[in-house]
């Protein structure tokens, strides 16, 4: 059960662009008492304290430099958006309950108990105004990974039933139907068949044994279905033994974004089990940022042991097959700039792959000023795009992205994340911006060289 704060109205039918975000809206889920919520949040905050988080929470010197790396602070000058301030309750819980001097903090009341009012206020700071983009983690002179801790703090917030309504609903739908947009296996099959027909391409589905399992994100399946055909064209062209599967097709992980570890694990296990059943050697993830984080870097930890297959983002797969000469493309005579999805590049380490792909395409590639690993986030990551009340803020931070991209003067904007693409589409509409975000993978699929048979 999820309840919307009655102090303001939530009109789900209203046009997104007409929506005026309320001053305050604290959503709750479940029917816990106030005390129970606080206790639950504390209990689950504590569960996430390990050597890494403890050293981070103990090591911060309050220099405030992280503020200057955060798009929310840079665009609002509101000190509450200082990344480390978003961790204040997590830190308060650590110092009071777990830290080496917790006894003294409690005894002398140096750190007060976290209150429900604080937790409600931090709902805005931990969800609406953090895309977990990790730019702040790169400026910190102590090397503290603040973004990683925001994801952890969300675990306690979820358990305490203190997360934004829309994000909860989306994550719940994903847990119940297998997809945040409600794409059931039947619907996926329909979309695959439609795309196979429309693009006259063979799309293997539910093949019993295959070397490669390809999966999609629901945004692609629903909003950019051409991605399905593009994926198929590419995998067919490399001569790969591959398949889609109705057992595991959805790569997004709203369990991770919302902070529900059980749902995160369930979503990951669906793909892992499917890949194992197929005897797949490689799981190719779609153009989706957080899906990469969830599976490439967290999947094995959900599984509890190393995965028996390789995990690649589609861009990494493309770079591999293009670098080794297995996939050839025609040259594209265009100027292009590339938006790095935070979870794939900055936090995921696959920054070079899209640059390799663009080189093979022969485009006039124009790197953004402070691009690549220092890229500004699109503003839609971390589940933020689902939260309607965060729209105004999201559009505000998108201005940085627009400026960064316009500075290149490139004709084409490309990315490798459908969520970024969706965020761009929405902001383009909002600002009446005369640009459109495209998919790197689709550009490759459209320019494949005829295969010699």
């Amino acid at each position: 059960m999820t309840t919307v704060d009655g102090r303001t109205t939530l009109d789900r039918e209203a046009e997104r662009l007409a929506y005026k975000p309320p001053e305050v809206r604290h959503d709750t889920q479940g029917d816990m008492t106030t005390e129970q919520r606080v206790e639950t949040a504390m209990h689950h905050f504590v569960k996430d304290f390990n050597t890494q988080t403890a050293s981070y929470l103990d090591g911060c010197v309050h220099c405030g430099m992280c503020a200057d790396a955060c798009h929310y602070f840079v665009r609002t000058d509101d000190p509450r958006y200082t990344p480390i301030w978003k961790m204040e309750l997590f830190k308060q819980a650590y110092k009071r309950e777990v830290g080496p001097f917790a006894f003294f903090y409690r005894l002398f009341g140096f750190k007060k108990k976290v209150t429900i009012d604080q937790l409600e206020e931090w709902q805005h700071l931990l969800y609406d105004s953090c895309t977990v983009c990790g730019r702040c983690s790169l400026v910190c002179p102590m090397g503290i990974d603040i973004a990683g801790m925001v994801s952890m703090a969300r675990h306690g917030m979820f358990k305490a039933g203190l997360i934004p309504h829309e994000l909860h609903e989306t994550a719940k739908r994903a847990a119940e139907t297998g997809s945040p947009l409600g794409i059931t296996p039947e619907k996926f099959k329909e979309r695959v068949e439609w795309m196979a027909d429309e693009h006259e391409v063979d799309i293997p589905l539910n093949v019993e044994k295959a070397d490669v399992l390809a999966v999609m994100s629901s945004i692609e399946i629903q909003k950019y279905p051409e991605s399905i055909a593009a994926t198929a064209k590419i995998l067919n062209a490399t001569g790969e033994s591959w398949t889609f599967s109705t057992d595991g097709y959805e790569a997004t992980n709203f369990g991770m974004l919302s902070g529900n570890l059980e749902w995160q694990k369930a979503a990951s296990m669906k793909l892992i089990d499917t890949a194992i059943k197929l005897g797949a050697k490689t799981l190719v993830l779609p153009e989706c940022g957080h899906a990469y984080m969830a599976m490439r870097w967290m999947g094995a930890n959900m599984y509890g042991k190393p995965l028996p297959f390789k995990v690649l983002h589609i861009t990494e797969y493309l770079a591999d097959v293009m670098n080794s000469g297995r996939l050839k493309v025609k040259k594209v005579d265009k100027s292009v700039t590339f938006h790095d999805p935070c979870q794939v590049s900055r936090r995921g380490g696959a920054t070079q792959a899209p640059r390799d792909v663009l080189k093979h395409l022969g485009v006039d590639f124009r790197e953004m000023p402070n691009g690549g690993d220092y890229n500004w986030c699109c503003g839609g990551g971390g589940g933020v795009i689902t939260i309607k009340r965060a729209d105004e803020l999201r559009h505000r931070v998108f201005k940085l992205k627009m400026d960064q991209m316009e500075a290149t003067g490139a004709e084409e904007l490309l990315s490798s994340c459908a969520n970024c693409r969706q965020s761009f589409d929405d902001s383009e509409q909002h600002f009446g911006w005369n640009h459109s975000m495209g998919s790197l993978m689709e550009m490759v699929a459209e320019n494949l060289e005829e295969q010699k048979s």
């Binding site: 050597t51 090591g59 010197v61 430099m65 090397g143 190393p306």
Partner: protein
């Protein structure tokens, strides 16, 4: 036993014990929390090499952040380099360390150390002004920040006063200086000054996690 003997003897000794004990306690409290193993397939080398790399590299600011963080960075460098120089390169300090280490090293002329000391205090004041005026710093600062600033500045100021004298006896000034050092040593493991040793953990862990991913550190 006069004040100087007291400061030089039992007080400094007790402070040293508290420093060592407090540091071990804090480090154990953090390290014993442990961390689950990471089963993901590594892309880059993790381990201690990665930790060392970031412990070193994070002393520099990446290009995109340079302009915004210029003021605290410059002041921070002056403060830290100044503290190291005044503590380790002032000849009387070296003589003191030689007393229990058994070996010494060359120092800088007193006049240069005095100049460095003044620059260090100025940088400390500049950082305090930033803390008191920046909306971000005002919001995130707490008692620890101000008290740690105070106990760091105190030995610098009392040390600088020794050659100036101001009509006070040398022995008294020296005793006050040593007592202020004792206060610094006692507070160091408990508050934010613990970053003296925690920096190796924070930068080190980030290095191990993100270098392993082949991600930007």
């Amino acid at each position: 036993m006069d004040l100087l003997e007291l400061a030089r003897g039992p007080v400094l000794q007790a402070a040293a014990y508290i420093l060592v004990g407090g540091t071990i306690w804090r480090l154990l409290g953090i390290i014993l929390l442990a961390k689950k193993p990471d089963y993901s397939e590594a892309r880059g080398p993790g381990g201690l090499g990665a930790a060392a790399k970031v412990i070193w590299s994070r002393a520099y600011t990446a290009e995109p952040f340079k302009r915004a963080t210029l003021y605290p960075k410059i002041m921070g460098y002056v403060l830290h380099v100044g503290l190291f120089a005044t503590v380790l390169l002032f000849v009387p300090h070296i003589v003191f360390f030689e007393g229990f280490l058994g070996f010494g090293w060359p120092g800088l002329p007193n006049s240069i150390i005095f100049f460095i000391g003044v620059a260090t205090v100025i940088s400390g004041v500049a950082l305090l002004v930033r803390r008191l005026t920046s909306p971000v710093l005002k919001l995130i600062s707490n008692f620890d920040d101000y008290f740690s600033w105070f106990v760091t500045m105190l030995p610098l100021v009392t040390g600088l006063l020794i050659p100036i004298r101001l009509g006070i006896r040398y022995e008294t000034l020296l005793a006050v200086h040593i007592l202020s050092v004792a206060l610094l040593l006692i507070w160091l493991p408990f508050g934010k000054l613990g970053h003296t040793f925690l920096v190796f953990l924070t930068r080190g862990t980030t290095g191990m996690v993100f270098e392993r991913r082949g991600a930007k550190t």
